[in-house]
Symmetry: C2
Subunit: 441 residues, 2 copies
Amino acid sequence: MHSVNLGLIGGGTVGSGVWTTLQRNGPLLGARLGVEFQISRVAVKSLEKARLVEFPESIVTDNWRSVVEDPAVQVVLELVGGKTVAREIAIRALELGKPVVTANKALLSAFGEELFATAARHGTNLYYEASVAGGIPIIKVIRESMVGNRILQIAGIVNGTCNYILTRMKLEGAEFSTVLRDAQRLGYAEAEPSLDIDGHDAAHKTGILASLAHGFWVRPETIHTEGIREVTPLDIQFADRLGYTIKLLGMVKELTWQTGENRGQRAIQIAVYPALVPNRHVLASVNHAFNAIAVSGDVVGETLYYGRGAGAEPTASSVLSDLADAALDLVHGCRRRVPPFVPHAREANLIPMAEVVSRYYVRLLVLDRPGVFAGVANILARAHIGISSIIQPEGHAGEVVPVILMIHDATNAVMQKVLIEIEQLPMIKSKPVMFRVEPFE
Amino acid sequence: MHSVNLGLIGGGTVGSGVWTTLQRNGPLLGARLGVEFQISRVAVKSLEKARLVEFPESIVTDNWRSVVEDPAVQVVLELVGGKTVAREIAIRALELGKPVVTANKALLSAFGEELFATAARHGTNLYYEASVAGGIPIIKVIRESMVGNRILQIAGIVNGTCNYILTRMKLEGAEFSTVLRDAQRLGYAEAEPSLDIDGHDAAHKTGILASLAHGFWVRPETIHTEGIREVTPLDIQFADRLGYTIKLLGMVKELTWQTGENRGQRAIQIAVYPALVPNRHVLASVNHAFNAIAVSGDVVGETLYYGRGAGAEPTASSVLSDLADAALDLVHGCRRRVPPFVPHAREANLIPMAEVVSRYYVRLLVLDRPGVFAGVANILARAHIGISSIIQPEGHAGEVVPVILMIHDATNAVMQKVLIEIEQLPMIKSKPVMFRVEPFE
């Protein structure tokens, strides 16, 4: 039996989860791997604070450097969250040649390239399975299991808060703001919810997956990002009538540029937006705080990975998997066997969202009057945009009613222009709302 | 760039698929791994036969030994199927210290322990991701990603033929025999279909997954195995009315023995049978030839993995993933980093199916007459079995009608006994049919 000493930095939810599960399943890990894990040092922010776990006094400190620099510590678990101290911890450990395991997607998204370079320079490794989609082993799957595939598409439900809100809106017909408040009360959403509901967290994760799939590091600011604030119960209900469920998706697509001077070139679209998913697709039945990621490869076809995207224990499961890899790599003397990231493509043809051809769901609020629709139809016709279906609930003359248009195949730029024109029509009573439709064909 | 020479044995569907995809995506694999793969020798059964792929004459032979024993060949791909020659090939390669990649679940199921021991003795490795569920990376997931988890339950749709048949029966209301003939015509089912539709293929795969999860090698003959021949469109329709879909499941459950002298002990149930799956569960929406495996761990909670379970390309995707691992292990000098199988438990408490407590769906055909149900109710009451619901379509007096009972929590032994008693009642017009209900709570 080999023994591997760990330094745990962070005594919060994730750190405590890792501590507890390692106590519980340490013997099982030992039996499976031939490795005994020992958390020999723990660093927390403050020694005064009450914690989920009572760490033994003899090993706990509020000085992370003393843990990272302890010669006995062989692997560093960076589980503090945030980007500033977390970055210092990771860099210092890597500089000492120690492998780092992290669950920190914000850190990775912002400083991934610096961390990878530091790890390479010092002949060590960085493991980050827990940074995307909690307990779903999506990093290992894309990097190792699908290594023989060109990745054609990734479509991920990677933010549990948004999925929880959208699921409850669908099941209960409730308003976004009502469910959000409830989610905040239950701890599923932060008091400052923007990181989740405006899509930024999903963009961090989508960027990491896109990077692994396509071999160039994606900066989060290049990702077109929309959140779920504009989704109403009405949209969810109409989508269902049309056979769809609205989900916040992180999308990474390989596609062919269809307009302008790049026409015919291959390009990568990376974006986060609420989209209509066909009810027959497995993603549509991923409910509540669960995550799922559909990945299509040119060899394997469509695959999908489902599980809990957050929480102490699902995250701990991925941290333990990384720990196992780190320990095996140490024990077998192959620390860089699978590097954290292999850049193998140039900064590829990232297609701007404006140039992407999509299908759309559009909701208008119109004053119900004879001839009301001619204005809208004319604008669409002039832009050469086809309508695949219209739902117009019967209203009384003079009432304001919703009209739903399903539109196929127009660039996002053309759609933006058209929606601005439509908004100016006299019978249109509010800003048109538009969501993309993902056909999953 | 490292170079790794492969010996490919088998020029059938899978062998050709691996050849073709390696030609196509070799450069991508090279960029990602820093390894250039070279299929330097190919062995086929007969040089005369027309093939999907034209292998270059200079490298092809009908003598597998010359390939396996060629000193230039570093990794052997055993893709011939069957158990006799395949076993010889694998054993010989392992004896020479060469890593073997196989897609052969029958081989593994029958001779797994011998192959693992041979690999260990000669300091080499055996890789078999493609042997279970085609393109789904379930071996790596259970062995590496869930390594920190006690595996509480595995529920797998692991036979594409059965799932194709059950899906079409549900969507079209068609009879089993009609769909089976059609599946045979389309190549989804063999002319001799028993291996698939009687559950044996699913049992091979379920045994491999159970072995990995629980750390003792499961012999297929210890797996209680039922197929789908008894499922009728009527059952599928009634199940749907009750909120369920019928799927052939490979089940591996950790449970508590509830009867007899072992009462209170932990035990493992391993079985294959058609079961009612709640429609709200993702497994219920896995259709046609797709596979999916739900795995619950004590740390991660419920996870699920979905993809194509067979076919040249999905299988090739898993073979390429194994090839990548084999090559990295060679290049980094860590050939036994993750051994093919680590026995870490004794031949555990395997619970016989008779002792397992399940829920049931029971279909009776009865002569519709006043008082018809008293006899059935008395038998169930005497056995202390509760009925959670009854569906009895209205018929005309004197007609033979189906009656559906949903029964909760009885051992399989008691149910067998009760069904035999019920069958002997005068108004029962055919052998009662019973399927288990998996609640996924």
